[in-house]
């Protein structure tokens, strides 16, 4: 990295290859732990319609993370489903944070379930990395055992956070024997990562392309020249490349942070409720965001400090993979406040909050976001998805729909509406291709307006028409008469100019509930409109208008 002069802030050149030796604690299945699931039952946590965590029993039944809810329930019908709640996860993770506070004050949280800190000070205090890891594993395991999930903690020590987290995650697997922690010798990060598959980078778009290019392991990816990776895949891939080589996402900063990026809010009178404090925090976050943006910077790690009037202090460092936007940062502040104020009684503060501090701990130049190169998410799709998300907020999730091709005979069943929230936008949704032969399908052109409105179809003398079992009309249709004037269509009988039919369809006769036996007619009315009517059990209804 070179010198960046941006808005008067000098981002000093950092030592590119220096990595911070870190310890990472991973609590396996944290969303399940927070949801209160028991460790020996088959349980999953579902967020946005997909499995985000599955218990060991559920995994044994074939449930995998990323499956849709229905698929998971199909694999294991007795599975217990919990709803995802990031706030709850973060609140309960406070207990783990508190246990680690006895080891070091500088705990860094990225997502609930993962905590990290640099080992340099604590390691010397406890007498080496092994002793430190053992201490931490014991402390966190005690917390997890009290929550009913023993032996689901992994601790890893290595050069760099990403490597340490990989090591810790391996330690949470049931197959690893001989302890809950592992220490990688200094300098062995790259060789540890090299055989791992690229999927562990967690960037699906990038890894898919890499696999297609024949790059399957982190070692092979790290061997690519960094400049070429940046030129071809963008800045996000460069971060992934650094991780694959055993480096940190960003080179560590050595210069102290300029004072104008630290924000403090004094609360007078002190507040005791989370929502009140969050309201103040919101203003603080927006100030920080403005200041960062004015300098062309973004923040990837932030230190949030909360102080009560009695002098109790709660400080946490939060990390975000890309960079914090306003919403994400407010979330972190709320999680921390919620965890402290509504957490276990022994850890709760005794008085109201009087001060909030927000210090961006790690800032870098804002690089923006690069959109897909081939297919995938295009700018138009992203814009549309945002607009539809807002529309869902206004009219409700169930009222924003997308079409799904199902196949069938009548225009209403060939393509149906499904809520947009249950599908992936921009992908083609075809349950059954529509080109199968459907004898008796209503021919092209199809009615542009579909309704289901009772109607009377009469012959010239005003008697209601009937269709015989053999598909014969009792007389030639002459008038179409809407019975109710309530629907606004009671315009009196309209003469029929031309007609054709009836065409019979007898569908799903093997299923008494779904059995549908209809006779359809096309009518041309005197006022020039064409209409599709259907007769079922002797009653006529309008199926559609050819508008």
């Amino acid at each position: 990295m070179h010198c960046h002069f941006s808005g008067g802030v000098l981002v000093l050149p950092a030592d590119e290859d220096r990595v911070v030796r870190s310890l990472v604690v991973v609590c396996a299945n944290w969303p399940l732990v927070a949801a209160g699931a028991s460790s020996d039952s088959a349980a999953v946590v579902i967020g946005a319609g997909r499995v985000i965590a599955a218990s060991p029993r559920a995994r044994a039944e074939g449930i995998e993370v990323g499956q849709r809810r229905r698929e998971a329930q199909r694999r294991c019908s007795s599975v217990i489903v919990h709803d995802a709640d990031p706030d709850r996860d973060a609140r309960l993770f406070h207990a783990v944070g508190a246990a680690l506070e006895h080891v070091t004050p500088r705990i860094e949280l990225s997502t609930p379930g993962v905590a990290a800190f640099p080992t340099r000070g604590p390691s010397r205090y406890f007498g080496g990395d092994h002793a430190l890891a053992c201490e931490v594993a014991g402390a966190v395991d005690a917390v997890m055992e009290s929550l009913g999930w023993p032996h689901s903690v992994g601790v890893g020590v290595a050069d760099g956070r990403f490597v340490a987290q990989r090591v810790a995650q391996q330690m949470t697997q049931p197959i690893t024997e001989g302890g809950r922690f592992s220490v990688l010798e200094p300098g062995s990060s790259a060789s540890f990562l090299a055989p791992l598959p690229v999927r562990v980078l967690g960037r699906d778009d990038l890894t898919e392309v890499l696999i297609r290019l024949g790059i399957h392991t982190l070692g092979a990816f790290a061997a690519l020249p960094a400049a070429d990776v940046l030129a071809r895949f963008g800045s996000d891939a460069l971060v992934a490349h650094r991780l694959a080589g055993g480096l940190d996402e960003q080179a560590p900063r050595v210069a102290p942070l300029p004072a104008h990026l630290m924000f403090t809010a004094e609360l007078d009178p002190p507040v005791e409720r989370v929502d009140q404090a969050t309201f103040v925090a919101k203003g603080l976050v927006e100030q920080l965001h403005e200041a960062l943006r004015a300098d062309g910077l973004c923040c990837t790690r932030v230190c949030i400090g909360v102080e009560t009037i009695a002098g109790e202090c709660n400080e946490r460092i939060w990390r975000h993979g890309d960079s914090f936007d306003v919403g994400a940062l407010i979330d972190r502040m709320r999680w921390q406040l919620d965890g402290w104020l509504n957490g276990p009684a022994v850890l709760r503060p005794t008085s109201g909050i009087s001060r909030l501090t927000l210090i961006p701990d790690e800032v870098g130049p804002a690089k923006g976001r690069q959109l897909g190169f081939w297919g995938g998410e295009s700018a138009a799709d992203a814009r549309a998805a945002r607009a539809l998300a807002r529309a869902q907020g206004i009219v409700g999730v169930a009222s924003v729909m997308v079409p799904e091709v199902r196949g069938g005979r009548s225009p209403a069943e060939r393509i149906v509406r499904v809520p947009a929230a249950t599908t992936e936008l921009g992908s083609s949704r075809v349950v059954l291709t529509d080109d199968a032969p459907w004898p008796g399908r209503v021919p092209t052109p199809s009615p542009a307006l579909l309704v289901d409105e009772p109607v009377r179809l009469c012959d010239a003398r005003g008697a209601m028409l009937a269709v015989s079992g053999r598909g014969l009309l009792s007389a030639a249709p002459a008038f179409l008469d809407s019975p109710g004037s309530g629907s606004g269509s009671g315009l009196g009988p309209i003469a029929i100019e031309a007609w054709a039919g009836p065409w019979l369809s007898d569908e799903r006769w093997w299923d008494p509930d779904a059995h549908l036996r209809r006779a359809r007619l096309q009518l041309l009315l005197r006022d020039g409109r064409a209409v599709l009517v259907a007769c079922e059990h002797g009653a006529w209804c309008i199926e559609g208008w050819y508008d």
């Binding site: 799709d381 009222s399 225009p411 004898p439 008796g440 030639a476």
Partner: protein, 305 residues
Amino acid sequence: MFDTGGVTASLSNLPGNLPGNLPKSVALRRLTELVRPVALAGQRTLPVAEPLAGLLPDGALARGSMLQIVGVGATSLALALVAAASQDGSWSAVIGLPELGLVAAEEHGVALTRLALIEVPRWRRAAELVAAVIDGIDLVLLDARVPLRAIEVRRVTARLREQGAVLLMVEPGLPGGSGSQSALTQAAGGWSPDVVLTSTMPSHPDSGQSVAGQSVAGQSVSGQSVSGWSGLGHGHGVLRQRRVTIDATGRGRSARPRQLELLLPDVHGAVDGWTDVSSSIKPSSIAHASTDALSFLRRGPRVAG
């Protein structure tokens, strides 16, 4: 692309269409006209199907404009208008219109993967909804029955210009909602559409009707029909296509009245230009339609037995 030095040099020896004896300022102005990027207007428009191009000022939908579509077959016309741009990669959304037939939309060529359908259960937040949808979606079909107050309409229109979306106000041809009535309420509601497309039944419907009747069923349809539909007889045939006359008026560049005769829908459910009786019916389309009709008919006896 254009190097400033190159342009200055070429001023002295301008090509044939610019006379060399003009004063330099005039010549420069003419040269600016010549080298002005021509793609600019194109970027501000969305394409429409070729038969409909004659209805609109640039032969395309101008971004930021609002169209009002009324009359017979307004729904089909709206679907036909958005189809080309939808296939070109634009998203389309339908606000209201719970009756919209999605098969008809597909037949017109609307890309179903980029179509969203939004129900409006609570009318009073309609303006907010329309504004939100306009923000990210290029083609918005709005049900003309959604009531908006004059001030909301002005806000939506301003947003529309800013975001460059196209709003098509559709009046579905359902019984009860007579076109002129709600057109009046909209005029009172403050809508001032850039283009008003009114589709009506053709003035001479008889010629198309009888020929189509003969070709499908082998016998002429008796009686005058006021509709443009063809293909349906007394107990035989199927609805095949409809002839409509579309009148376009509007403000500004669209002020000059235009008129087109179209087949809407044609035998494939899409839109086609209507030229003449003899040339409009292609042999292939007749074969297509009659096999459809046959398979439709064949179903009957099997079920009854």
